[in-house]
């Protein structure tokens, strides 16, 4: 019965499902894990780096993208879809700066990305974007934020969350180990993110890419953070 309702995106099933959107969420679950943690003065994004072929240059595989100086995004799902969304979000960030003379707030750009995603769940001839994203950053008044968007076009704010493969396991780990007092310390936040990722990533710091942003500093994508942290991870 379900088969006849999943052809077109613009058709509901009798029990109220949009199957194409749900299948998009399945595509997300196949993507590599990403975790985000929001501290008091720091936000951290960590992604699992999938193992790549020997001859492939791993610097060209970027799963954490800067949308502006104060906002960055990690995704899980179809990389090509993410490219389109990230490009539009980048243009919107600059357009906002031009018109309003202020950098975007994290909530604003999340809302924009979600609106794009929702539009694609309601037009004919198009399929939804197969990505979930974690958007972190600081507003210009200094408050940190972490938002998650889904292929359906909804978004929610989180203190810590994970998307992609084994997201459930990671989220359970985060729920167990997240402590409000710990979020004051920058190192505790980073440790929590790394530990959470290590639950599902093959052991070793080589498979983790971390991005850190502190209040009043622009994002530091620790591309080769694993050099620095491989020792710490061992300790952790």
């Amino acid at each position: 019965m379900a088969m006849s309702y999943d052809r077109a995106i613009t058709v509901f099933s009798p029990d109220g499902h949009l199957f194409q959107v749900e299948y998009a969420q399945e595509a997300v679950k196949k993507g590599s894990t990403a975790v985000g943690v929001r501290g008091k003065k720091i936000v951290v994004l960590g992604v699992e780096k999938k193992s790549i072929a020997k001859l492939q240059d791993d610097r060209t595989v970027r799963k954490i993208c800067a949308l502006d100086d104060n906002v960055f995004l990690a995704f899980a799902g179809l990389t090509a879809d993410a490219r389109v969304v990230v490009n539009r979000a980048r243009v919107e960030c600059q357009s906002h700066r031009l018109t309003v003379e202020d950098p975007v707030t994290v909530e604003y750009i999340t809302r924009f990305i979600s609106s794009i995603k929702q539009r694609y769940t309601q037009s004919n001839g198009r399929r939804p974007f197969g990505i979930s994203s974690l958007i972190v950053g600081f507003d210009f008044d200094g408050t940190p934020h972490l938002y998650q968007t889904e292929p359906s076009g909804t978004y929610h704010a989180w203190k810590a969350n994970a998307i992609g493969r084994s997201a459930k396991t990671v989220r359970e780990f985060l729920e167990k180990h997240y402590k409000e007092e710990d979020m004051e310390s920058d190192t505790e936040v980073i440790k929590l993110a790394i530990r959470a990722l290590l639950e599902v990533v093959q052991s070793g710091g080589k498979n983790i890419e971390l991005a850190i942003m502190k209040q009043d500093e622009s994002m530091k994508v620790c591309l080769n953070l694993w050099y620095l942290y491989s020792k710490k991870i061992a300790a952790v």
């Binding site: 357009s95 018109t99 309003v100 003379e101 202020d102 707030t105 924009f112 609106s115 001839g125």
Partner: protein, 270 residues
């Protein structure tokens, strides 16, 4: 459909949608889609010129920019003072026109130039400011509000709009004062005066301005500026509407008839 996207074909409905402004319009702040569609080949400003006394038609419809408005920043906020005469040529259409639009408790807009243009576009600006607040859950900044207005003006540049306005407000960057006009000029500054009486007003407020004035001194300076301008400029008059923009919003200070004010200042003059 997907094939249409690939081939670049735009269906009639999509084109109509673009001009009517559907889609993610609330992220463009209403500036990419124009309120009025102007037919190609029309030249409104040329047409207006031919109707004025400069044109050859023998017609003499002069749209005068009869007004004096002024605003200046000082230590305790921003003072806004406007006159209230609305003139159509040599006919005084109203002696109590309202030339300040209260956009919200933290934003004011003044009007000079064509009354119709000012009223329409500034009310449209008020609508956009309100929508911004509803969507983003915080008040629009003065720089964004003035940018919206100047973008609206730029959309119709060269088509004969006539508007010289100041946007005054207080946001988290402090007091804000912007001058926006129908050419799309947008300037931030400490002191502006617009309208055909502006030179008289500048003379008064330039000579009396000090950044560390008291509040009462600033009120008096604003009143004097308008009063002296209305004394000499035929197209300004009526009453002085004085506003003070403070950190927690604007207050209307007074509304005094210039013919009484000028007698007060005359004691020093004659």
């Amino acid at each position: 459909m997907a094939l249409f996207d690939v081939s670049g074909y735009k269906s009639h409905l999509e084109l109509r949608g673009k001009t009517l402004g559907t889609g993610l319009r609330h992220f463009n702040f209403g500036t990419t889609n124009q309120e009025f569609a102007v037919p190609a080949g029309m030249d409104p400003s040329g047409f207006l010129k031919s109707c004025s006394h400069e044109g050859q038609g023998g017609v003499s419809i002069d749209l005068n920019h009869g007004t004096t408005t002024l605003a200046f920043k000082f230590r305790h906020g921003v003072i806004v003072a406007v006159d209230s005469r609305a003139s159509a040529g040599s006919y005084i259409a109203s002696k109590e026109a309202n030339k300040v639009i209260e956009i919200n408790p933290y934003l004011l807009g003044t009007m000079s130039g064509s009354a119709a243009d000012c009223q329409y576009w500034e009310r449209l600006l008020a609508k956009e400011c309100r929508l911004y607040k509803l969507r983003n859950k915080k008040r629009i900044s003065v720089s964004a509000a003035s940018k919206l207005l100047s973008n609206m003006m730029l959309g119709y540049r060269g088509m004969g709009l006539s508007m010289g306005s100041m946007i005054i407000g207080w946001d988290n960057k402090g007091p804000g004062l912007y001058y926006v006009d129908d050419n799309g000029t947008r300037l931030s500054g400490q002191m502006f005066s617009t309208g055909c009486g502006n030179s008289y007003a500048y003379g008064v407020i330039d000579s009396g301005y000090r950044e560390d004035m008291t509040v009462e001194e600033a009120y008096e300076l604003g009143r004097r500026g308008i009063t002296h301008a209305t004394h000499r400029d035929a197209y300004s008059g009526g009453v002085v509407n004085l506003y003070h923009m403070q950190e927690d919003g604007w207050i209307k200070v007074c509304k005094e008839d210039v013919s009484e004010l000028i007698h007060r200042y005359r004691k020093g003059m004659f």
